[in-house]
Symmetry: C2
Subunit: 235 residues, 2 copies
DNA sequence: CGGCGCTGAATTGTCAACCATTGTAGCCAA
DNA sequence: TTGGCTACAATGGTTGACAATTCAGCGCCG
């Protein structure tokens, strides 16, 4: 299961494209929130860090921009994306439309080996949560959702979900509200149960509610995001 | 209404990005089927055609590849995408999942001016169809669907639909089966009626059936696509 | 005669140096 | 402090070069 990265490498594409490690590294750093939203990504600096030319860096930045994980401003450079609350809500609304359907399909199509894979994944999630590895937990959670999409056998929708999930990780890192962090694990567990039983309707409902829960765990009140009132409003 | 191009230019991005005209030109040529699927897109040739450097061409090709309108093969170059029947079916299945929901939303939210815009668009479609401008008709049809998505006010889903539609145009051009080409116009007309009446359920159903009709108008029998059996299978 | 590896042209992937443009910071004066 | 001028830094793009790879032709050998 190649679970992350909306720009994936297919069989023909696994050659030594120098930009891919840069893209993957930055992507991982952004999604895991080690690079704060708004951070500048200077070409020269990245070029020296990765020991490649600026041309390669630009390709990587363009790829990140396609995934909406970075923002390219003309003559100013690249910055880590900073999705606003409107975008955040829409991303989750899109997921709430797509993923329940995929969960239902997965429940109908899952083979035993795939369910075993999901259970293994649950363990890893559980572990990361208890070890307090927050960013790891977020990424593992995303991979769980991608795993379900892959089981459903809809590669186009899986790609879309992959894209939405990378943005979700960023959004969660941005707008997470310290509430009941524990609900996660239970929801995923119940989903696996439903999928194993082949109960499509149940899986669909569980996914829908899980996403609604996630959304309600975010602080998306229309009020101003940060004390960046002036600079943000006027721009 | 900026109705086409999944990689759009936001306000800050309207500066002289030299790659955009190349991207737009190629995109238009591919979607309108003036560039046949599988056609090679050599960097040097494009560079001389558009009078830009290879770097710019590569940026444009990367953008096309992200939209899945071109395929980048390492050390071999870029080729116009050739979606197979599996992908084609999945693209329409994805649309059948997303667009009915957007149609319902549009029916609830449409303002008179937007409905007027849709009607104007219907006229253009009608015109193109009667004039026999096939590729124009395909693109106008796509723009109609995008227009509905925009009315629904879900920008993320609109972006996704935009992406799916560009691929759909390519797919239709590839797998269209000469049957009843006329149904199109009626379906769009009925959709506008439902949206104007604010009947969300009706709009959703109409969209669903419209997409099912479109899919059934394609030749997606599992048999081999083209006599390209050898070169395609072995690679 | 057919299959084999080889060679070489063509194309891509990458780099480095360079220019033009634009945004930014600093400085000075009113 | 504000306004404007200047110099600097970063980006967008170009050019030219070069290594790596692909592929088509070609001769060799069985």
């Amino acid at each position: 299961m190649n679970m992350f990265g909306s720009t994936t490498l297919d069989a023909t594409n696994k050659a030594a494209m120098r930009w891919y490690p840069v893209y993957a590294g930055l992507r991982e750093a952004i999604v895991s929130h080690r690079l704060a939203p708004g951070t500048k990504l200077p070409e020269d600096e990245l070029a020296s860090i990765y020991s490649v030319s600026r041309a390669v860096i630009r390709a990587a930045l363009q790829a990140l921009s396609h995934d909406r994980l970075a923002r390219l401003e003309p003559n100013r450079g690249a910055f880590v994306a900073q999705p606003n609350k409107q975008e955040a809500r829409e991303v989750f609304e899109a997921r709430a439309l797509i993923e329940p359907k995929l969960a239902a399909l997965a429940a109908e199509m899952a083979k035993p080996a795939e369910i075993e894979q999901l259970r293994l994944h649950l363990d890893k999630e559980h572990e990361a949560l208890h070890a307090g590895h927050d960013s790891d937990a977020i990424m593992l959670s995303a991979q769980f959702h991608i795993g379900i999409a892959e089981i459903a056998g809809q590669s186009i929708l899986t790609g879309i979900v992959r894209d939405l999930l990378s943005r979700s990780s960023l959004i969660i890192a941005l707008y997470w509200r310290r509430r009941d962090t524990i609900c996660e694990s239970h929801a995923h567990h119940a989903l696996v149960e439903a999928i194993q039983k082949g109960d499509a309707q149940d899986a669909s409902n569980l996914m829908k509610h899980h996403l609604d829960d996630l959304l309600s765990g975010l602080d998306l009140t229309p009020g101003k995001n940060k004390p960046e009132s002036l600079s943000d409003i006027l721009r």
